[in-house]
Amino acid sequence: MKILVPVKRVVDYNVKIRVKPDGSGVDLANVKMSMNPFDEIAVEEAIRLKEKGVATEIVVVSIGPAQAAETLRTALAMGADRGLLVKVEGAVEPLAVAKILKGVVEAEKPGLVILGKQAIDDDCAQTGQMLAALTGYAQGTFASKIAVEGETLAVTREVDGGLQSVVLTLPAIVTTDLRLNEPRYASLPNIMKAKKKPIAESVAADWGVDPAPRLEVLTTREPPVRKAGVKVASVADLVSKLKNEAGVI
């Protein structure tokens, strides 16, 4: 079975994000970028399936600027087999990504697509679901455990009330939650091997998709600074403040 894993290049999770002074977006100049952590979990899960003999090939795809090739190399160094880079400049919205991925799915015919549940830059959490709708594949989102059983896939989902178990018919789409696994560190020999693995390049138009944003961002602002708290003298005082000042009860 072939597994397709889409990976996104995002601001590294360690970076303290700064909004551009003109409010036009987040300042990305000289900022460390790396693979979306949820996507790393997706790559790791694919590799584990390959190590178990369930998967035969892992194809990673990234939709973004030329530098997204580095993100693909990271996935290849972890153990993916080959990469696809779909070059797009500027912001790409989930629907455009899902449409391009639909084309990739039709061309590659994977048995399973594993995506991160969301990207830590825009936190949309939409691409997997949209791709499922476009392809008509079954979906198991926010997965904390998966197991291939013949022609089906058992998925344990993290939902608000606890865990939900679903069984999907393959081919299917899975989005990963944090507890699915702990991604490995790439080994030095594998980083070297990754350099020689193929990455095929294309552009959005090759997949018949116009990636121009459909949404208009009016402004981007820092969240308001948290104000210092006050100590209350008594429970009555607290209740009074919650009622009269905060207006929450």
């Binding site: 000289n30 790439a186 030095l188 980083i191 070297m192 350099k195």
Partner: protein, 595 residues
């Protein structure tokens, strides 16, 4: 909770913008090591150091190593961390691909080593010692020995040590008593006691290969009668399977001031079977192969400690509020200003920063020349690079470890009383740094190596490898409008270094004690001048980048730090110069009985 983030931005600056790392691929065997490969490797090393090694630093210090029933255990988590480190291929990063290594350039592995030392100096001792053993064995061992022992050493399945010191001899190895008796099958029976053996015994690997200095029957007295032997902890069959004990035991482990998670052992060899490495009586030469690279490794330890201490001091100075700025309140919404606003705190932080970044630039430059000395097709270029490395090795070892200690102490000072409290983590760096000034040849011995060996060798040929390029740089840039303020103080220090060199050479010829008495101050003067050269060059690169790409706080900070170095740190060179020129009388004429 202490923090550590690998300084990848500065490492890229040093490697690619300052030292032209892209040209590395022109050296034979390094064709593959372009930026597209090196940068992901540094990123991955950073992850491993930050997330796996660093969290074990404090706990390893608290727990230390233990010896029970003849078995040494490393602190909790070390074995698992070592497994990940080894499985990742990091033990073999700069080893020869012929033995399973990755063949990376020294300049890259030097940066990785810095991260390891910042994250967990004790942990780094284990693979560090193995690498020293690798170097000596790969260079001087017979093919049969190499085939049997190297692959597993490179793969990190087995570890290595360097067994030099004995109870009665450390610096003066001519006094060694451990003896090796020939056996019928060509091997040797090694008997004796070694002390202070780093990584002498531990639970990280299946076997440990000890490289032991010993005396053979009838060998000449002194260091000309010392031979080097490979003595494994466990015997190994021809099929490579680890067998029974080989008469090597750990007698006790030391209780130390720092690097407590690194086991420092008394090793007893009781007729242990060993094999000769290199020629008989030429053991010191083989040992020096690993000592020179090990000395650079220790220099990097000083740098690594300095970096992590600085990072924590900055974080604390931003966070800790105390007193108001002398020039008026800076944080009106808070009860006090962050201590970062106070001039003396800034002085300490900038001192830490200027020394750390300066040492990184210098160390990477030396590592780059080490690569040239091993790989360049032109023997003349190789020789020149080798001369430079030989000259700079004692300077880097002594200066970078002295500064590592100084920077770690400043780090504690920035924290005030909390620096003295264990749970903040700052005081560990002072304790861990202290040994780096002592082992692998004390810093006093490094200074003697500089004035006694490196300076006079081949009529001062090595000195010219430093003097000529610096002279040329000064002449080319001293008139430069912007760089003048950096190059002029460099030129002043440089002239003094030349005068001091002439003085030490002259006086040393007449009376060796004169050179010995001047050695430490002379080395410091040399080191400060070398740092000034790096800082002037860094300012030059930073200006060029700003011209090309517009404002960038990274380069602006580089230039500001260069200015601080020239204004506030380089003046120490004047004091060192005066001390050298004053001569050794006040030291040597003091009556022994009056001490």
């Amino acid at each position: 909770m202490p923090i550590y983030k690998a300084p990848l931005r500065d490492m890229r600056f040093v490697l690619y913008e300052l030292h032209g790392g892209e040209a590395m691929t022109e050296l034979p065997g390094f064709e593959d090591f372009g930026r597209d490969l090196v940068e992901p490797v540094l990123d991955e090393a950073a992850k491993l150091c930050e997330q796996v090694l660093f969290p074990l630093n404090r706990s390893g210090d608290e727990e230390g190593c233990t010896l029970a029933n003849g078995v040494v255990s490393t602190p909790k988590g070390f074995k698992e961390a070592y497994d990940r480190f080894r499985d990742g291929g990091w033990t073999s990063i700069s080893c020869d691909p012929a033995w399973g290594g990755q063949g990376f350039p020294n300049v890259v592995s030097t940066l990785v080593e810095e991260m390891i030392c910042s994250a967990n100096l004790s942990f780094g001792m284990y693979p560090g010692l193995s690498h020293g053993a690798y170097n000596a064995l790969a260079r001087h061992g017979t093919e049969a020995l190499k085939e049997k022992w190297l692959p597993k050493l490179v793969a990190g399945e087995w570890a290595g040590t360097m067994c030099l010191t004995e109870p009665h001899c450390g610096t003066d190895l001519g006094l060694i008593r451990t003896r090796a008796e020939p056996k019928d099958d060509g091997s040797w029976a090694v008997t004796g006691t070694k002390i202070f053996i780093s990584a002498g015994d531990h639970d990280l690997t299946d076997n440990i290969l000890h490289l032991v200095l010993a005396r053979t029957p009838g060998a000449p007295k002194g260091i000309k009668g010392i031979s080097l032997f490979l003595v494994p902890k466990y015997a190994v069959g021809d099929d490579g399977a680890v067998g029974g004990p080989n008469g090597v035991t750990c007698g006790s482990i030391e209780h130390k001031m720092g690097i407590k998670a690194s086991s420092t052992c008394v090793m007893n060899f009781d007729g242990a079977t060993g094999w000769l490495i290199g020629e008989r009586h030429k053991g010191m030469r083989a040992m020096f192969t690993m000592m020179n690279t090990a000395r650079l490794g220790v220099a990097i330890q000083g740098l690594g400690i300095a970096e992590v201490s600085y990072q924590n001091a900055v974080a604390y100075a931003r966070d800790r509020i105390q007193g108001r700025s002398l020039s008026g309140t800076k944080a009106p919404d808070k009860a006090a200003d962050p201590i970062l606003v106070h001039p003396d705190v800034r002085r300490m932080l900038l001192t830490q920063r200027a020394y750390t970044e300066g040492c990184r630039a210098l160390a990477a430059g030396i590592a780059r020349e080490l690569d040239v000395s091993q790989r360049h097709p032109d023997p003349k270029v190789r020789q020149a690079a080798e001369d430079y490395v030989a000259l700079m090795t004692p300077i880097a070892k002594a200066m970078m470890t002295d500064l590592g200690s100084e920077v770690a102490n400043l780090g504690v000072q920035v924290y005030g009383g909390h620096g003295f409290i264990r749970e903040w983590g700052q005081e560990q760096y002072v304790r861990d740094a202290r040994i780096t000034q002592i082992y692998e040849g004390t810093n006093g011995v490094q200074a003697l190596d500089l004035v006694g060996r490196k300076m006079p060798a081949d009529a001062g040929r090595a000195l010219r490898r430093f003097f000529h390029p610096v002279q040329a740089f000064i002449e080319a840039k001293v008139e430069d409008e912007r760089l003048g303020v950096f190059v002029q103080p460099l030129a002043k220090a440089f002239v003094r270094l030349q005068q001091a060199t002439a003085q030490v050479a002259r006086a040393g010829l007449a009376r060796p004690d004169e050179a010995g008495a001047a050695a430490t101050d002379y080395l410091k003067l040399f080191g400060l001048t070398a740092l000034a050269h790096q800082w002037a060059r860094m300012a030059e690169v930073a200006y060029a980048r700003l011209d090309a790409d517009g404002p960038d706080t990274f380069y602006e900070a580089k230039i500001a730090t260069a200015r601080f170095f020239m204004d506030r740190l380089l003046p120490e060179s004047s004091a060192r110069f005066s001390a050298v020129m004053a001569g050794g009388r006040s030291i040597m004429e003091f009556p022994d009985d009056a001490f």
